[in-house]
Assembly symmetry: C2
DNA sequence: CAGTGGTCTAGACCACGGG
DNA sequence: CCGTGGTCTAGACCACTGC
């Protein structure tokens, strides 16, 4: 929504946007049927292939079904949350009407440990920047973030003011953008450090999200372990036969 | 791996499978570069479009990168877990070498409550089948599952023996298959019923997964709330600019 | 049976990366 | 500058759904 449709955007993305809006405006459903691909192609004056690309986006977002033989069916209303919002705590907070804050508690360069070497795919000799950051949601502590950056990214993060609200947005301005991320979600107990900063008791349960982000070339940009106070957050995943990004693992 | 390449499978899927195997055999990387689309098209004797469909699959699984201007780069080794395994507790358990078990504790038809009506998209008058099921992993209690089925599915589930290991597989045999699912993951405290069956204390933290599954036409097949003992499980999500199924929500 | 989405082809041009 | 992937076209045939 908002931002005028950018001219530089590929045609199929703009069409997907229009369809999203139409669906959000209940032009078809839910439960309603979309026009056929043929009809959409005629309407937008593009080839069927382009329409299919647009529909693929809606499909992966769980907005419409797709079955051979039948018109596409509109599912529930749009969740409308994008990659940028998942990637950035600050952006997410703003999108739900909360005020994000961040405070760096500790930050220093260290020789990387084996765990970091594995996740960031670096060699043992390389130093990394470790940052401990407390995140607030509208003045209440919500999450404690332990992030490790490899050298080039760390060099950009290090000089930022300790109360920087969005590190991600600074990195983007520096030309560093995230293309992929892998998240592991489980439950953990607060250690003394967690307890101190999140104002909870040692041993209290926390929701843990470990995350590795990579750039478009597949080079790791950060390895982070975030611990959320319970009650403040839930993670929502959509998956389908078409794309299955969610897996279940034994905690080891 | 294993199963002979089915002839009925579309060409691009078979190619994706071959590429997966090649990657798993470290034919290129990790860090290595895939042949160009042009070269792959020539090798498999298909058009570039078909190759791109195959590569799209690997892309969504986070197996390879893709950037204009450069060859695709192989990322980490294959996670190899598919939709079927995420959808079925029994299949997942077997895939990690554990023995799954299930016991129905309670099962009965009820008039649907507003929550169920919303998630299953049914009218207030429709009855639903509520099932309380305890899941074991190699003889240890691992998860307590509260599932609600709408009428047609419930009618199939009801007569199953209480110790049925895989309900999903029975449904498939009856021609009912899941195409989409939405999962919400958060943290919750054990209530007396949880505590009794999971052999934990009331108030102990549990990892909760709420799930709605729908069939290819978008019709809800089940609404379930699963509570896992901590330490036994983690959820892993992969997302990218290309597809973002993961979102973060305020718990309300 | 007609209509629809799934697969596939053989081209084309462009935007970007890296030498 | 060249090679690469990203976008797009205009066709074709098939598999399936639902009448």
């Amino acid at each position: 929504m908002s931002a005028m449709t950018k001219a530089g955007e590929p045609r199929y993305r703009r069409i997907a946007e229009e369809l999203r809006t139409a669906i959000a405006d209940h032009a078809y459903g839910p439960g309603g049927r979309l026009p056929s691909e043929e009809a959409l192609a005629a309407h937008y004056e593009v080839s069927r292939g382009t329409i299919r690309q647009a529909l693929m986006l809606l499909r992966h977002d769980g907005l419409v079904t797709s079955r051979r033989g039948t018109r596409r069916v509109v599912l529930h209303d749009a969740p409308v949350q994008d990659f940028a919002e998942m990637q950035s705590f600050a952006r997410w907070a703003r999108s739900i009407g909360e005020t994000p804050q961040g405070t760096v508690i500790r930050q220093a360069w260290h020789p990387s440990n084996p765990d970091e070497q594995h996740h960031l795919r670096i060699t043992p000799t390389t130093p990394v920047l470790r940052v401990l950051r407390l995140r607030h949601l509208s003045n209440r502590p919500a999450m404690l973030e332990r992030t490790t950056y490899p050298e080039p990214v760390g060099a950009i993060v290090e000089p930022l003011p300790p109360d920087t609200v969005s590190v991600t947005e600074h990195l983007e301005r520096a030309g560093i953008s995230v293309a992929d991320a892998e998240h592991t979600i489980d439950l953990i107990r607060a250690d003394p450090e967690d307890a101190e900063h999140l104002h909870c008791a040692v041993g209290d349960p926390l929701l843990r999200e470990r995350r590795r982000s990579t750039d478009p070339a597949g080079i790791p940009l950060e390895w982070s372990e975030d611990r959320y106070l319970p009650g403040s957050i839930a993670f929502v995943v959509h998956n389908s036969l078409a794309s299955t990004p969610l897996t279940r693992h034994l905690n080891s």
